[in-house]
Amino acid sequence: MNTFLIILTGSLVAASCGFLGCFLILRRMAMLGDAISHAILPGIVLAFLFSGSRDILPMLIGAAVIGLITVFIVQMLNQSGVKSDAAIGVTFTALFSVGVVLVSLYTQQVDLDLDCVLYGEIAYVPWDTWQLGGTDMGPRALWGVGGVFLFSLLVIGLFFKQFKLCSFDPALAAAIGIPVMLFHYLLMTLVSLTTVAAFESVGAILVVAMLVVPSATAYLLTDRLHVMLFISMGVGVLSAVLGYFLASWLDSSIAGAMTAVAGLLFLLAFLFSPRHGLISKMVARRKVQLGEA
């Protein structure tokens, strides 16, 4: 049962990240996912300090707010002439530092271990349960991640066309009257929410990996956005399942192993993807050369 819960949580994280990640990499904002997942640390700590509890709701709000602030600051710096990569780098490292300082100053009050934040301990998910009126409702993280997953599924589902157009051709989208900035921030809100829901249970690194790796894999396997979304989710879930078994075999971090498996799957796609793979391109080139000869 615990195994199942862990794998389920991991899969949900992977699926919701993989799903949002597709939009991120299409909009060339892959590093923004990384930035958000580090930058929301102060939001989480502040939410802890203010609410005095580890409830998921204040943390979600705190992190989503800081996540949006991060995106906003990056945009502002960019507009005032800082290159976008430098803007991202300055912003998230500064916010992360603030978070680390807060954690260090209030270590007694905050039950938040830095190592834990970075690696995440998905193995503890089944024990950290949620009580409602005396009944055990199951793992807290599962509720959080599942809730956010359904929410982002709903939002993206409702506005699929808008998101699609904004990803591929923001200028056209703006021209036909789609509020591009609104959807940009909406997407970023979803990323922040997903990140924080997954953060405590699986750690920053799995979130970053799952935002980028499965969607990049999917990007190599298809040319259609909705197919890409499904492949990305599938790759994410597969990495979660295989990663769990790898981790229990090696007796190592589950989140890390899930990431490693995702990396391996990407490598496979990189080499063998039917149209974009390295090997298949080589074969195709060979065929052309033979044909000429």
Partner: protein, 450 residues
């Protein structure tokens, strides 16, 4: 604890020295990374170092910083290779391949690290300190290592300065000159990697990236010269090192890495706001003064054209000038803005208040003002003419970004354009040489007469 007292502590002195050296070397190298558009490479390399360090530990079982450097270096090189290979061979963009490599390497590193922690002899405790950074734990031996590496980095940068400059601004040109640009790029990457690796121990994985970015971006605000930028960036890096270390001694539990980064960020923010040419404040001042200037010019033009209409319609009538409201209507600005502009123009002695009707102030030009307005209107109309008939004028060498058109023309060209202007009946009518200006002088009746 008193700052001075803290400085007496030999341990603090070592930490301070280490952090200053780190600040200088990452500041200097950060400039080139920044200019190459690779600010985040430091972040990727720092994450990628983890599996390297873990593997070295697994293989040798020792915790020597020298071996860790080698392990981290090899892993970093591999990561660099992956990043370039992925973006070269597929349609995946550079930022995605960066994020991808970073997270996969770090994931593998975490697997190895936890594998070591769960299986090992229990002697691995220094490993995560090495990775997550603890400047306070720097000892004499580490500082010596940092010193050597930093010295090598700074000297190499000085020696290869010209080549790196080429690499940063125009690698294609450099290749044309016969410099091995690929090799130089590799050397630069290797140097970045070294500065990242020595930084890891002091400030940790995430923050080592900041030390590469923040001082460089800060320095960019103060100069346009690469040489100055590199020196300034090293200076800001060193200053952040000093400030961060000192702040962290003031409070227990305050880790050094983040305080260094926050100091660097503070310098960045100050520069962002206050730097004399590119700062937000300076630009805002420039923007506002430009806006006021344009407003004044628009108002003058409106007043000029109003007068012009009047003289055209009733050449002999005595008139009194125009109220702010009238002019606001003419040029489509708010009346309050027009009034403000009028007072500013009055200070410059371009306009004067003619008289008051019951409730309003009427404005008209002084001779100087009329001259100036004539110049403005003529310039505006010449530009309009130029833009309307651009095909006719494409022999003229005109820089459309310059404000004034007439000084860019030869006398011949100008008289040609003026002739055309009068053909459109657009010649500004009220001008000095037509003897208009004296008519604008206050007459005894207190009005204008023509």
């Amino acid at each position: 604890m008193n700052v001075w007292l803290a400085l007496q502590d030999p341990n603090t002195q070592w930490v301070l020295m280490g952090c200053v050296l780190l600040g200088i070397s990452s500041g200097v190298l950060g400039c080139f990374a920044f200019l190459r558009g690779r600010s985040l490479v430091g972040d990727a390399l720092a994450h990628a170092a983890l599996p390297g360090v873990c593997l070295v530990y697994l293989l040798t079982g020792s915790k020597s910083i020298g071996l860790f450097l080698i392990g981290a270096g090899v892993a970093g090189l591999l990561a660099t290779y992956c990043i370039t290979a992925i973006s070269r061979h597929t349609r995946i963009k550079e930022d995605t391949s960066l994020a991808l490599t970073l997270s996969v390497f770090f994931g593998i590193g975490i697997v190895l690290l936890t594998y070591i922690q769960h299986s090992a002899s229990g002697n691995q405790s220094g490993l995560d300190k090495f990775l997550f950074g603890q400047a306070a734990s720097l000892v004499f031996h580490d500082v010596i290592t940092i010193m050597i590496v930093a010295a090598v980095l700074i000297v190499t940068t000085a020696l290869l300065f010209k080549e790196f400059t080429l690499l940063s601004f125009d690698p294609g040109f450099g290749r044309g000159l016969g410099f091995p640009m690929g090799l130089l790029d590799g050397v630069l990457m290797l140097m970045l990697l070294m500065s990242v690796v020595i930084g890891l121990q002091a400030v940790g994985v995430v923050l080592v990236a900041a030390m590469l970015i923040a001082p460089a971006v800060t320095a960019r605000y103060w100069t346009d010269k690469l040489g100055k930028m590199v020196i300034l960036s090293g200076f800001f890096g060193a200053l952040s090192g000093v400030l961060g270390t000192l702040i962290s001694t003031q409070q227990e539990n305050l880790p050094t890495g983040p305080t260094i980064v926050l100091s660097a960020t503070a310098f960045f923010l100050l520069s962002l706001l206050f730097s004399p040419r590119r700062g937000v404040l300076a630009r805002m001042v420039r923007f506002l003064s430009m806006r006021n200037k344009i407003l004044r010019e628009d108002v003058m033009q409106a007043l000029y054209e109003k007068l012009e209409e009047q003289t055209k319609r009733r050449p002999t009538r005595v008139y009194y000038g125009f109220s702010g409201e009238h002019l606001a209507q003419k040029c489509g600005k708010r009346a309050s803005a027009v009034r403000k502009a009028m007072y500013a123009l009055q200070k410059k002695r371009y306009v004067t208040e003619r008289s008051r009707t019951k409730e309003e102030l009427l404005w008209t030009f002084t001779p100087d003002g009329l001259k100036e307005a004539h110049r403005l209107v003529l310039n505006q109309r010449l530009w309009d003419l130029y833009h309307m008939n651009q095909n006719q004028y494409h022999d003229l060498e005109i820089d459309v970004n310059q404000e004034e058109l007439a000084p860019q023309l030869s006398d011949e060209e100008l008289s040609l354009m003026l002739a055309q202007l009068s053909a459109y009946d657009l010649t500004p009518r009220l001008a000095d040489h037509q003897g208009v200006s004296h008519l604008l002088q206050p007459s005894n009746q207190g009005g204008l007469s023509l």
